[in-house]
Structures are given as C-alpha cells and as structure tokens.
Amino acid sequence: MESNKLIELLEKMLRIRHFEEKVGNLAARRMILGSVHLYIGEEAVAAGVCANLRQNDFITSTHRGHGHCIAKGGEFRFMMAELFGKSTGYCQGKGGSQHIANFDLGILGANGIVGGGMPIASGAGLSIKMRNTDQVAVCFFGDGCCNNGVFHESLNLAAVWNLPVVYVCENNQYAVSVSVKQASLIHDYYLRKDAYGIKGCQVDGNDVIAVYEASKEAVERARKGEGPSLIECKTYRWRGHYEGEFDRHYTYRTKKEIEEWIDKCPIAQFKAYLIENNIITAEKIDQLEEEIKRELLEAVAFAEDSPAPKPEDALVGLFENE
C-alpha cells in the first residue's frame, strides 16, 4: 500500500477519534443534547472500509454513526452544527446525532432503529444494478442487528438478486448490555454468509489495514457485479452505550475487559506501525492532530455561532412540493 493511502487512513481515524472526544465532552456539558453514541475504539472499521469508496458510492449508518459519516467525507462543521441542532447542520437541526445524512456524499443516513438501514442500503444496491453503474452500497450495522429480522431479509434478497452491497458488521460484542453470548449461539456472525450463499470473512476490526484489504476485495467484487459480501469486524466500544450511561457499563462488563481493549487501540497500533516503518514521523502525526483539533474548534465555533432554526421551521420539509 502506498504511504499516502496509509497516512490517509490514519488521518481518517484521527478525525473520528478527535471528533468523538470533543462530542463526548460537549455532551457532558449538555451543549449537545439528545442521545449520543460514540464510536471511540472502532475507528478502524469506518476508516478502513470507506477508504475503498468513491463519493458517489452509498453508505447507510447506525445510531453510532459519526464515524461512518466522517469516513465517507462528512465535514466537521456541518456535523457539529447538526449535533447542536442548528439550521446550518446537515439536516438543518431536524435530525441530530442519530439522523445525519448527506445525499451528495452518498450518506443515506444514520438510523435510530437497529437494522433500519439494512434494507435501505440493499435498495441502493438494487438501484445501482438497475441503473447499471459501478457504484457500491455499504451497510454498517452492529452485532445486535444480526439477530433482527431485517438482517435476514436483506442479506437473502441482496444475495439472490446479486446486488453490489457490502455488509459490514461491527461486532463490538455488546448490544447495550446484552453480550453476543446472550444473543446467540453463534458469535462469529460472518458465518451466516453461508445461510445466504454469499462471500464473507472475519477481520480484526482494530487493524485498519486488515479492514481495508478485506473490504477492498468485497467492494471490488461488488463493482464487478459479483454480488454482496458480509464482513465481520471484531472490535470494541470503549465508552458506555451512550454518553450518560457513565459507570453503568460495569454492570455488564469489567474494567479489565475494557482496559484490555484499550490496549488494542486501533489508532495507537497503527501509529506505531507507521512510525516503525518510517511512513510518517511522530512529529508529523502530532502536527496532523493539532490541525484536526484546530478544525474541530472551528467547527464548534461554527456550530455555536450558527442560527438556531426558527420554531416554525418545524413545519417545513415534510413533503416535496408538487
């Protein structure tokens, strides 16, 4: 892989990490309202997958969606403004954290309903096939989603219709407090590919290169019309299910388990690898991070300075005028 590409991957991960840390901070200060689910610890998945995508490719995202949005090209300022409920936000303040979308960037939306995006991404795949382009649709979803009916219906139908969809399971091993062990006898969800007759594999979701390579193959297959794939990325969420859960996550997992996963930080690992292989220096990385932080501060300022929507704006936008 080219150095450029590798540095891009790092940058994407750093952008996500810093964004999420800032958001966590703002949520704690109640400057961001509503429920906020952070992606910290899982950055390699969104970054690795989306590095294979073009702007006109599609993704659907989840309640834990900031990372996907950033990785697909979402801009801090418009995201932040949305989280602040401002009219400059991606959804003009109507969506909030769980409902960011930008159709120009192919971001078909985060979703407050577990599994809600699965048939939608698949339908984008159908559209690609019918319009006969070489786009690809990527569907992000959690381990918790794998036991919901729409998972089954979506993968099955995308399989038999041979659609260009890549299903990316972010197996962070918990759905709120329910562990994969309580949720099913199968804990390696990529195995379910065989139930639909499609390709699939499992990767270390904290290894951005592994994620990149696996999804590259799947994306290329999809572009060539060779059908859908199921990629399972084993990873871990560092924070509570949502900001505000605080220490309640110790009711279902141990501090030790969390710390072990923090030790496997996808970003720290990747930084070490890049430095060791002389692809980038520690100084350069610091510089990168400074820039990102600066951009974030600007984004927060932008969000703060942006006008709130007028209350009556609530009445606008339900239907397209005809």
Partner: protein
C-alpha cells in the same frame, strides 16, 4: 367510453408510467409471471421482464426497505404488499423510514415511492385478511394516502402517485378489482386532495371511501325514491384530505354521516367527525354519526361477517333512523 376493470386500470396506470419513465419498476410477491395474487394480469411482466417486474420472496420489510433505498438513489419503485394486513410486518420501514426520511434529514431528498396494497378483504377472508387500517397511515406524517373507489379513480390516482416525489400508500379495495367502469383512452391524472362529490343532495352529507362508496350510493338511490336527497362524498385521498368540500357540503345539509369498513374506534371517521365538530360545528343541526365495523376482528362465517361490517341494509336503516324518518 370504454369500460375496464379496476384491476386493469391499476395495471394500465403502472404500464403507462413505466413506458414514460425508465426509473419506474415494480416489486412484490407473485407479481411477475403469475400476474398478481388477486387478478391474473401478467402484462407488465411480459412487457418489461424480470428486471423491472421483480418477484420477491416473502420478505415484506425488504420489499419496502429495498424500494426506499432505490427511491432515494434515482429509481421510482412501485412496491406491492400482497394484502394490507401484512403491512404490519413492514411497519418500521413504512413508518420510521419511508415516512420520516425526507423530513428527518432536513428536506434534502425526494422519496418517489408507491406502496400498493389491497385493503378490506374478500368475503370470508377472516381476521387476518380483512382489515382496513388506513387510519394508521393517515396518523403518520410523511405519507400520502389514497383509496380509490372506481377504475377511473384507481388509474388517475395511481398515475399521480407514481409521478409524485413523495411516498404514497395506495390502498386498492380487493372487492373492487373486478368492478368495471369507464376509463378514457387518453392519459389523465387525478390530483390528490380533491374529494369527489358523487351525488348532490340537501338532506344529509355522507362521507364514504372504497367499497363503502358503492353501498352508500345504492342506499342513496333508494332513499331518493322516498324524496330524501343525500350528498355522497368520497375523499379519494385521506392525506391530503379535502376538508373544504366536506365542510361546504355540511353547510348545505347540516348533517354528517360517515361510513367506513374499518373498525369504529380511531377509524378515519373519527377524524372526519372531529374536523367537523371543530370547524363545522355551527353548521350542524344534528349530532354527527359514524357507521363502521364493530370493534372486533372480522369473523369468518358469512352471517357474522355481514353483521360486523356495514352492509347496505345496515347503512339504509342507520341513515333512515338518523334522519328520523
């Protein structure tokens, strides 16, 4: 004018729109070579083939959700749910995704999607195949709801639905599929939100949809013989809902009687009654009255079913009693 069936009117509307726009396609169960569950008309499949007439497995959430994904990325799908009772298995997609997509994401996307589904059941279809749940969808902002009562309306409203950039729930009454009626050869569209006054009258305003329109019309014709003049209004679409036409009718008649096949409690009749009690109160001479199915699941046996859902006899006596004649 030539007469064609309600079923053929539906197929013709889709065919014309498919001819016009290559983004239009249909998906659903048994709509291909089989030609549809309730009528055997494989015309679309024969003409447009497997790609644009897509038979699906029994995966209703996928049917709706795939259609939605396609709709927001350049296609104009017409999805079919085999009967409206099974919209229940696709409700998240319909209610939380399709209906909210545009608004929730800030109005930046078009959702040109039609969900066609038969409503109301045949006779003896029993509890799980006879429901009329239209009021649920009228309660969900973001969905347009159409309910044609004639071949003419079916064709004209469906063409409007397919051309629309907003999601439409299109309820076809299963007992009307074989009904024949005049449908012009020339292309036409019927706008949403315009009620149809089927019959003018001065004594009473009756609002009815779908199959009930026909039962009410028969009753109105009978009552005419007794010198009673009934105005019959079919809203045609529940969202948008043409309340003006109904309010001006009541201004004239002073009386409102609503008939529907859906269960009474929280049926769309409640909404009509409420609107009139709010905005047409001063025109009212008498209390409003609703005649609807009893609040029970539809029973199988003919005589119980016939008892449960308003039939002509019951409509006639209820109106007669209501008018105190």
């Amino acid at each position: 004018m030539r007469e064609i069936s309600y079923a053929d009117a539906v197929v013709e509307a889709i065919e014309e729109e498919m001819d016009k726009h290559e983004e239009v396609f249909v998906l659903g169960e048994d709509i291909g070579r089989y030609g549809g569950a309730y009528f055997a008309n494989p015309k679309l499949w024969k003409k447009f083939g497997d790609e644009r007439v897509r038979d699906t497995p029994i995966s209703e959430s996928a049917i709706v959700g795939f259609a939605l994904g396609a709709a927001i990325t350049g296609m104009r799908p017409v999805a079919e749910i085999m009967f409206s009772d099974i919209m229940t298995v696709a409700m998240d997609q319909i209610v939380n995704q399709v209906a909210k997509m545009r608004y929730m994401f800030g109005g930046n996307v078009k959702v040109p999607l039609v969900i066609r589904t038969p409503i109301g059941g045949f006779h003896n279809s029993a509890a799980q195949h006879s429901q009329s749940l239209e009021s649920w969808f009228a309660h969900v902002p973001g969905l347009k709801v159409a309910m044609p009562s004639s071949p003419y309306a079916a064709k004209g409203l469906l063409k409007t639905a397919i051309q629309s950039n907003n999601p439409v729930i299109f309820f076809e009454h299963i007992q009307l599929y074989r009904l024949k009626g005049p449908v012009p050869e020339e292309e036409y569209y019927i706008p949403f939100g315009e009620a149809n006054i089927l019959r003018e009258g001065t004594d009473l305003t009756v609002v009815a949809s779908a199959v009930m329109v026909h039962r009410v019309m028969n009753v109105a014709n009978k009552l005419e013989e007794q010198g009673i003049q009934i105005e019959v209004i079919d809203p045609q679409t529940l969202c948008p809902f043409d309340k003006e036409t109904i309010l001006s009718s009541i201004k004239k008649t002073g009386r409102l009687f609503v008939v529907h096949q859906a269960c009474k409690t929280c049926g769309f009749g409640a909404e009509i009654a409420a609107i009139v009690a709010e905005e047409g109160f001063d025109y009212l001479i008498d209390p409003i009255q609703r005649l609807a199915a009893y609040d029970i699941p539809v029973p199988f046996a003919s005589n119980m079913e016939d008892f449960a859902i308003p039939n002509e006899q019951r409509i006639l006596s209820a109106i007669t009693e209501f008018l105190g004649k």
